[in-house]
Symmetry: C2
DNA sequence: CGCGAAATTCAACTAGCGTTGAATTTATGG
DNA sequence: CCATAAATTCAACGCTAGTTGAATTTCGCG
């Protein structure tokens, strides 16, 4: 059962495989339910390696969490084309990212945001400073209710993420992207430009 | 520091106060972060009492999250009035429940659904068997897309719950109920009776 | 009043966690 | 080719959690 001690032979990709295993487990099970020992096992490595390379479990998690998208790129894409069709483009871009492999990071983030205060703060901070500021500026919304509009969009997006990628209710979870866009896009559009008073 | 042993004097409301404390802590911190010992402390009781009355921590949690409101009653309320204004009534009823003290149970449920497979299954089961069946039947929706419609409504409701009650983004978290209804109701209405193809 | 049942606390057990330090093996630069 | 650095494993520590069993006190019924 025990492996040989000392340095392994050959090129060491250990550091990366730890990060891979961590990402996989964090997104599958969330932060709490993922143990350092499980990550080590998944990466076929001793638990001590994790602290050797990444320090504490929190630090490893921080390395793991990268925002699945560069917000600036995404926002630019959505802006281009004018406000009137931004809803569909937003949902489309969202689905494209979350359906892809990098979406797992988002799942991990949401999962842990539900059980860890600091991740919650991180998310809130991210939304208000990164997203809200840029979107409301570039989309030239009335600053009066821009915040609320972005909030409302966030509810729809968060709900979509939760139901499609975490709870996985059918038929939504298996619905082709274009149908999701057709169903949800118009509602997001109303939050952006419609009458919400 | 130590209390006296043996049976306490007076009428024992211990059982209830344990449940109260459990509900409070579960909804504040989630399942994992809430320890049996913390619940016991909050209820001013020995940890052993919890097992005496409720068995394991899982069982206590199960007792905690029985739905605070009879879904049938709620659904009936929403149905009455016809499908054309069901969206606003649904959001209204939703907000009323979640803003009230019993909403804490919902927060606890969502929190743990994000990190525990069995709670996720519980939620999915509940949605598909309890909600979906009844709503689509009583609202006389086209069975063809009734499931998808309910799914879409669920995304909006879940997102609202997450953003208003868990992440607590402003101004949404502090918005008066009637304004929430005005903002979100029409979108839910479109999911129920609008064109979503 | 007496006795069994219920309620309560205490102390301890076990299991699993994150983490650490020492020991051991391999790679590498001068 | 040797010395130092890096990589890796092992064993253990300390902590905290959930859970259990015995001891102790009170209640309530006959």
């Amino acid at each position: 059962m025990n492996l040989k001690k000392g340095r392994r032979r050959g090129s060491p990709d250990t550091r990366e495989s730890i990060l891979d295993a961590a990402r996989r487990l964090f997104s599958e099970k969330g932060f709490d339910a993922t143990t350092v020992r499980a990550i080590a096992a998944e990466a076929k490595v001793d638990p001590a390696m994790i602290h050797h390379y990444y320090g504490t479990k929190d630090q490893l998690f921080a390395e793991t969490i990268q925002f699945p998208i560069d917000p600036n790129v995404l926002i630019s894409q959505i802006i281009a084309g004018g406000p009137d069709t931004a809803g569909e483009r937003l949902v489309g871009a969202f689905i494209r990212v979350w359906d892809s492999p990098v979406g797992a990071a988002g799942v991990a983030l949401i999962r842990s945001a539900m059980s860890h205060e600091w991740t919650t703060r991180l998310l809130r901070e991210f939304f208000t400073t990164q997203i809200l500021r840029r979107v409301s500026a570039e989309l030239q919304l009335d600053p009066k209710d821009a915040q609320l509009r972005v909030n409302l969009v966030a509810t729809q997006m968060a709900g979509l993420a939760v139901m499609r990628y975490i709870i996985k209710i059918e038929p939504l979870a298996s619905l082709p992207p274009e149908q999701v866009v057709a169903a949800i896009g118009p509602n997001v559009q109303r939050y952006i430009t419609g009458d919400i008073a």
